[in-house]
């Protein structure tokens, strides 16, 4: 039996994070949650995520600061990123692909299944 894939969810709204963690766990993923970029850095070292689901506007700093940090190391730079954001309409995948972003999910319109589908898609 293959090992469970690990998802690191970086989301600063605790209630939304709880919902998203539940959705991903029900879909069969192991999920770690970080509320902001500094704790995400720690979590990446600890859980070695297979994919990172990242909110863009985080408390304290934006996701782009974290993405820059991740891209500066070979191992973390290879982890696929899914942006899950309220500002999806202002982003294009083409512009952020160089940060390892594979998918952009629009929080304002997404159905819980969309998040699972996005995560699943990076493993295909």
């Amino acid at each position: 039996m293959s090992e469970l894939k690990t998802v690191l969810l970086v989301e600063d709204d605790p209630w939304l994070a709880e919902l998203e963690v539940g959705v991903l766990q029900n879909a069969g993923y192991k999920v770690a949650h970080s509320p902001h970029a500094p704790s995400a850095i720690v979590a990446i070292d600890e859980v070695h995520p297979d994919v990172i689901v990242l909110d863009v506007l985080l408390t304290g700093s934006t996701a782009f600061a974290l993405l820059h940090e991740l891209q500066s190391y070979g191992d973390t730079g290879a982890v696929p990123i899914i942006l899950c954001t309220n500002m999806a309409e202002a982003l294009s995948l083409e512009d952020v692909a160089r940060y390892g972003v594979k998918r952009i999910v629009d929080k304002t319109t997404m159905h819980p299944d969309d998040l699972v589908a996005a995560v699943r898609s990076v493993f295909l």
């Binding site: 939304l16 500094p38 506007l57 985080l58 408390t59 700093s61 309220n86 202002a90």
Partner: protein, 246 residues
């Protein structure tokens, strides 16, 4: 006064009249609570939700909606500031703080935080408009909820300043220290009208901008102090002359 190394920033000095970007900022600020309410509603559609979880989710919808409605109410009030006359009167801010603690207790409790007033045995009176002062403190409290650590107490505190007969009402939160970079970003954000979404971390500063407008309308100002373990956002207003009669 704590021995923390502190850094103060006047938040209101250079704030300009809102322009079209305010509409973008307002729209964006409302997106987050609306998106959250929608996700909770989708979760409620799941027939496997237990009665206890259903109750908790419904409570989250109520509390999230109330936060969003406070913002819309402040926006409306802010837009009408120039057309309205506001009655300024001697006020005991501690009473307003106590009312706010009662009102926000469920929200703070739902986020595993607490809001409390630091009691003064000798009340300080200031000159303010009750509604505007209440809105400012509510705004700072909402802000503190977001930035404080779970399990901590956010304190509403009132103090007399030595200079110029001013009274400061502050909202002190306890959370991770703002880095110098983040502090510079905050100062920049607060020294300008709300910035484009791309330039900002987490918030457009819309709430602080509105609080600054409300303080201006009462001849006061807002500011912030950075501590090693959190921050204090405050409003300073003229002390009431009735102080001398106490």
């Amino acid at each position: 006064m704590s021995a923390d190394r502190e850094e103060h920033e006047d938040l209101g000095t250079d704030l300009h009249i809102y322009d079209v970007s305010s509409l973008t900022a307002a729209a964006h600020e409302l997106k987050a609570p609306l998106a959250l309410v929608r996700q909770i509603a989708l979760r409620l559609e799941d027939e496997n939700v237990t009665p206890a979880e259903r109750q908790r989710l419904l409570s989250q919808i109520t509390l999230t909606s109330e936060r969003a409605l406070r913002l819309t109410s402040d926006l409306t009030k802010s837009a009408r500031l120039e057309d309205a006359l506001f009655e300024l009167e001697p006020i005991n801010p501690e009473q307003i703080c106590r009312d706010i603690v009662s009102e926000l207790a469920p929200l703070f409790s739902a986020h595993q935080r607490e809001l409390a007033v630091v009691h003064r045995s000798h009340p300080l009176l200031l000159v303010a408009n009750r509604d505007l002062l209440r809105r400012i403190i509510m705004n700072f409290s909402d802000n503190a909820l977001h930035y404080s650590q779970p399990g901590t107490v956010v304190h509403l505190q009132i103090q007399a300043l030595k200079r110029g007969g001013m009274i400061r009402v502050g909202v002190r939160d306890y959370g991770p220290a703002l880095s110098s970079d983040m502090w510079r970003t905050l100062r920049k954000k607060l020294a300008n009208s709300p910035q484009s979404i791309h330039a900002r971390p987490q918030s457009s500063g819309l709430g602080l901008f509105i609080a600054s407008q409300f303080a201006d309308a009462m001849n006061g100002r807002i500011g912030a102090t950075r501590h090693r373990d959190g921050a204090t956002f405050y409003v300073e207003l003229q002390a009431s002359q009735q102080l001398s009669l106490l």
